[in-house]
């Protein structure tokens, strides 16, 4: 039993988290989804992220859910993200369901909640497909095209650059704490709680060195940005035009849109027949 829990803890280590996040961020840049035009995908998301809210037909919702599940698979999203998705769906509607029962609800409450669950799931998967599946750079450009401020697209691009660096540093600082610290024993419930408190305290304390180290970094970064003309690019509309000129709608995009449309039509047909 102890072995098992240690095994699970081991799987869920910092290193694992780091790997999963990196995998999700960089590991799927050769999928069908990643190569699509970001504008098309964002419009696609507009449809699949909004339409399900308006539907109440279980069959139709199920069809859409299946479709976005397939696209999520095509985007090769990291397992951890999918796991989070499941937790998220449960916590959004599942808890309401239980609480409603507690306050004297009945089976009638279940039906709308099931529909709601399907809606939440479909919409979340659509968002996972687009935002996890797309290349960071292409996503940033797509958002820029739709008029988001240049600062946001810079932030996205910079976040993808800085993430592995920050994670490594955080990991090393935590390690310093672990190697030099002396955590309490985790025997019994009280021991476990005390151990947990110790861990949380350690994580919070490790932000003190992390803040100082990151401050040192960001100074160089901002100086370099200044030298490399970041401020000019924000002011110059020509730069935006040049950035966006690389966006091109290809045949693959059209095929993808057609498949989506066809699938939805079939689903609508099914829901009418059934």
């Amino acid at each position: 039993m102890r072995k098992l829990s240690e095994n699970i803890l081991d799987k869920f280590s910092m290193d694992f988290l780091r790997n999963q996040v990196l995998k999700n961020a960089y590991g799927n840049d050769d999928t069908v989804i990643a190569k699509m035009d970001p504008r098309i995908l964002l419009v696609w998301y507009l449809f699949f992220g909004l339409v399900p809210w308006f539907l109440n037909d279980v069959v139709l919702l199920l069809g859409i859910f299946l479709f976005v599940a397939l696209t999520t698979r095509a985007a090769k999203v990291a397992p951890l993200v999918l796991f989070l998705f499941c937790i998220g769906v449960f916590s959004q509607t599942g808890y309401l369901f239980i609480v409603a029962l507690f306050f004297g609800g009945n089976t009638e409450t279940i039906a709308p909640l099931l529909v709601m669950t399907l809606k939440v799931a479909a919409v979340s998967l659509a968002s996972i497909t687009v935002f996890s599946g797309l290349d960071p750079d292409r996503l940033a450009n797509g958002l820029l095209w739709f008029g988001c401020p240049g600062q946001l697209s810079f932030s996205i691009s910079f976040a993808y650059r800085i993430l592995p660096v920050l994670m490594e540093e955080f990991q090393n600082i935590l390690l310093s704490y672990r190697l030099r610290g002396n955590p309490p024993h985790r025997n019994g419930l009280i021991g476990k709680i005390r151990y947990l408190c110790y861990q949380v305290k350690m994580i919070i304390q490790s932000f003190y060195p992390l803040m100082l180290n990151t401050a040192k970094r960001s100074r160089t970064t901002v100086e370099a940005l200044e030298l490399r003309g970041y401020r000019y690019s924000i002011q110059n509309p020509e730069v935006k035009k040049m950035k966006l000129s690389m966006l091109k709608v290809t045949q693959a995009d059209i095929i993808f849109v057609c498949i989506s449309a066809a699938w939805v039509c079939v689903c609508v047909g099914l829901s009418v027949v059934l």
Binding site: V99, F102, G105, S127, V130, I156, R219, V264
Partner: protein
């Protein structure tokens, strides 16, 4: 553009980058660590809000607030694909406002009492705005809100409780105490690393909270509510439509309309792309 102004611009950018990367990293982890529930009391390590709060009290509050909100949006929402559409705007604005107000309230970062008060107030502000939006959201979202047995009570109870719980648990443990611990410790140490002078009465611009900034915060809050309601407003709309169309035909029409809209947008993209090529 005078040089003095330019310098403060780049210093703001530094604070923005710092706040974005640190809070982004923290939210990324909190997103990954599942919360655990004891009954209906949720213990989640949800708030690492102490990071932007600390930065807001030491540096420019607005940059710290905006940086934190952007960091959360980019690192935990977009990178992990948890993007909730327009609804994210609510969180973006409430975090910015909460951090900004808390940062403006502190005049002397070495005064622990002021730091503690300001940080808990900032958290409260953020939580309160979130709760109001949440209650309104469910009220609009679930059809026949009043008709579902036990639902209104449960929503008020859970949301109210969640707010209080977050405030007492996350708010004190994860925001107030760490901020109290960090701000005086970092004061005078972190500023030279960014090439700035420590904040004092002179470098603080303007009064603590001007009427203008309060109005701006209120406007931001209103926008947050509207955004959230628009995002989840589908229910309300379909409810309203149900009066004239109770059949699936209405749904089919709705889908066709949506598809047509999508296609039009698509067409616009095409033509704009073509124009650019010929131009």
């Amino acid at each position: 553009m005078n040089p003095q102004n330019k310098i403060s611009q780049s210093q703001k950018l530094m604070v923005f980058v710092l706040s974005m990367s640190l809070y982004g990293l923290a939210t990324l982890f909190t997103e990954l660590i599942p919360s655990f529930q004891v009954g209906i009391v949720e213990f989640s390590v949800e708030y690492f809000l102490f990071i932007p709060l600390t930065l807001a009290m030491l540096f420019d509050p607005l940059s710290a607030g905006l940086g934190a909100a952007t960091g959360e949006l980019v690192f935990s929402e977009i990178m992990l694909g948890q993007f909730g559409g327009l609804g994210e705007l609510e969180k973006f604005l409430t975090v910015t406002i909460g951090v900004y107000v808390a940062g403006r309230l502190v005049k002397n970062p070495r005064n622990r009492a002021a730091v503690a008060g300001a940080s808990i107030f900032g958290v409260f502000l953020q939580l309160f705005m979130g709760t109001v939006v949440d209650i309104l959201k469910v009220q609009f979202a679930v059809e026949d809100f009043e008709a579902v047995a036990g639902l209104p009570e449960s929503v008020f109870a859970t949301e109210g409780f969640a707010c209080l719980n977050d405030l007492l648990f996350s708010g004190i443990l994860f925001c107030m105490l760490p901020t109290m611990f960090l701000v005086p410790k970092l004061y005078g140490k972190i500023e030279p690393l960014l090439g700035m002078k420590p904040r004092d009465e002179k470098t603080m611009t303007g009064s603590a909270l001007s009427a203008k900034s309060i109005v701006l915060c209120l406007v931001g809050f209103a926008v947050a509510i509207v955004a959230q309601l628009l995002a989840k407003g589908g229910y309300a709309l379909i409810d309203w439509e149900a009066a004239w169309a109770e059949s699936t035909t209405a749904i089919i029409i709705a889908i066709v309309v949506a598809a047509v809209v999508a296609l039009i947008v698509f067409g616009v993209i095409r033509s704009r792309a073509k124009n650019r090529q010929t131009a």
